[in-house]
Subunit: 441 residues, 2 copies
Amino acid sequence: MIFIPTPTATQALHDIQQGGSVQTLLNQYLTQVTACEAKVKAWQCIDTDTALKQAKSQDCDGSEHSGALRGIPVGIKDIIATSDFPTEWGTPLHQGQQLGYDATVVEQLRRAGAIILGKTTTTEYASGRATHTTNPHNSKHTPGASSSGSAAAVAAGMVPLAVGTQTMGSILRPAAYCGILGFKPSFGAISRFGIMPVNWDLDHVGCFARSVEDLALLCSVLMVADRRDPDCWAQSFSPKVKTLSRPPSIGVIRGPFWQQMEPQAQSALLAQAKGLITAGAEVREIELPSEFTAYPSHIEALVASGLAVHHRQDLLAHPEQMSPQLKAIVEKARSLHPLAYAEARRATLSYDRYLNSLFSHIDAILTPVTAGPAPLGLENTGSPIFCALWTLCGFPAISIPAGTASNGLPLAVQLVGQAKNDAHLLGIADWIIQGAIFPAN
Amino acid sequence: MIFIPTPTATQALHDIQQGGSVQTLLNQYLTQVTACEAKVKAWQCIDTDTALKQAKSQDCDGSEHSGALRGIPVGIKDIIATSDFPTEWGTPLHQGQQLGYDATVVEQLRRAGAIILGKTTTTEYASGRATHTTNPHNSKHTPGASSSGSAAAVAAGMVPLAVGTQTMGSILRPAAYCGILGFKPSFGAISRFGIMPVNWDLDHVGCFARSVEDLALLCSVLMVADRRDPDCWAQSFSPKVKTLSRPPSIGVIRGPFWQQMEPQAQSALLAQAKGLITAGAEVREIELPSEFTAYPSHIEALVASGLAVHHRQDLLAHPEQMSPQLKAIVEKARSLHPLAYAEARRATLSYDRYLNSLFSHIDAILTPVTAGPAPLGLENTGSPIFCALWTLCGFPAISIPAGTASNGLPLAVQLVGQAKNDAHLLGIADWIIQGAIFPAN
């Protein structure tokens, strides 16, 4: 475990409300940037001068402009449009790309008084080539992908909050590897207007933080109705975490890829399930029908097809600038069966129907999030397979730290809730963490 | 124009609230069934005995069980599951199919006290072979498809309300051909749980009625949150039609297929646009960019792929029971480019972005709904091309009667609103009809 000297967003806001200076607060985070960034390399682009000016201006304004995130520095994954910073999509092809407008999530953050400290690294088109970002717990290991920079920046305490995206497992996996909380709300809960698409049928916005109350706070700012994203159904979201009225009922799903996990990760999950029972939760194991073994091929077909059509112009014009990994994904898309996409959508409906019906008996699903701790090296960013099913079905999911592996790196588990019941899932996560069933870092 | 001797739902409810008998009311509709059904053939299955029993029981109950549609007979398209009637999907392959449960929309109707009079005809899998249903205005002409029976039953006055579905143009086209109102709310506004899929990315539930207030009433019952349809975002919908605070701003879009229209249908639309100006509306013409010419091929790829994957088992087991039309559609799906589906989804996003931006300047779009009046014969059910773009983008759309063609059959126009702003569109439609700009039948 690493020591993080900077406050959470909730602690920082409390400080400011008590009369603390935004500049003093920001300087704590900037000190941490100075201390860590050379090693962690979480930022694609950072502007401390502008951030300090904004902090100064907020200090002079007094309390009259008190947004929900007033003075809180936030990191933004570099596939999300910002009117000031370039938005480079993780590829040299779009180096210095100025989009000239803010994505809805950035608009919302600015409106709430947050300080956009900079853009965090992303893998190539949120998919291909890995970043040079390292895991704050051990720089020889990957922080996970594709929201690598957002996860690493929060885990290193350089910002208390960061925004990322998930199309397969790009919020939860890096959160798990970096030992922080990663929350991907329900599909459509946060607008994707202004965000580079991988596949619009799967793309989700998600959040990184170090406490559940911070996640709720950030979601209350990000969730807003937006007709510019046709799938967005957002309703107002409470910044206060709901307290459970009774211990939750939890279904444990090992899933079809349990055998691909490291034994220590399997043990961690089973130990957590036992801890839940001790804490008063009702816990039952649920075995998925065999049709679920096909979900990785379905989501891979959707992701590959989405990348191929959304970035075709780039591929045609500058194939030499594309990584071999990305070219392989697109090649795969071109050789799919003509009905592969439709079949993936049909299967998703069937999965959704089965899984949704479980929630008449349970409050949440406890399931693996990764095969083990962060892999060694920066090229292999780990497998999204344990996250992909829940992304496919659009269920809210959160990665919760669950102890430490033999090599000292974080382990984690995944908690999945019913679609459009995001607040309940955060309430359960908070109940678990408050009860220290899963010791958070 | 045909004379319809039965009341609208709103008139009937008023009658019942004034102490009128549900049985007497129902008998008026049943008399009309007796008078028309032999010629119109709108019903796949009808149960007058059960309906009469329900009416009697409602009369005995008194006013204590006063649902929003208490005593109102409704027709249900035969791809929508009912626990009592068979649900045959328009194919002999599923003759007598008992699904044993109610679709969400049927559940809602029963809860509101409506009387499910029977199942209305649908083309084969809501797509292929036409029905034997005739146009109530002239039995030598098609009523349109695929919600043929629902449109014809309402147009003939056999029921005041009916429920159908639209994947390309299956609500608005038959409503236009039959001279009634057909309303397809925004994508996801009404749950499709229990409804046979054509393509879940496109399928919409819609309503037939003879007044805007009846449509609002029916929508207030049908729109309910339902996690069993992952795309459903429904919120409570007011049964009262909103009165406009000022004359609306209307964009007229002839669209890329204007030249495929009969001159009399073109003239009708332009005359209506002039009528709107006279009534005080701000009217401007909008020309779509050239990329919109591709929308028919995109939606056809989605529909064909959806049918191919959802009904593959039937196709494999009993190809001899499939119509040549349906087999041709599925064959087409099998020969699509591997990226056709993804490309259609990408194009939809692009269309949506363009069209949605128009609504910062206008309240609604006035656009063609059909190429002309109902075609002669029952086999050719007309083209959905004028409705397909708005289905693709999930915008709410309503077909409004707009005079009579030279052969005495109804003409109509289409009014399209912004997604998730269904109530505003109904308000505009009501303003138009109340002003008799488009004389309703």
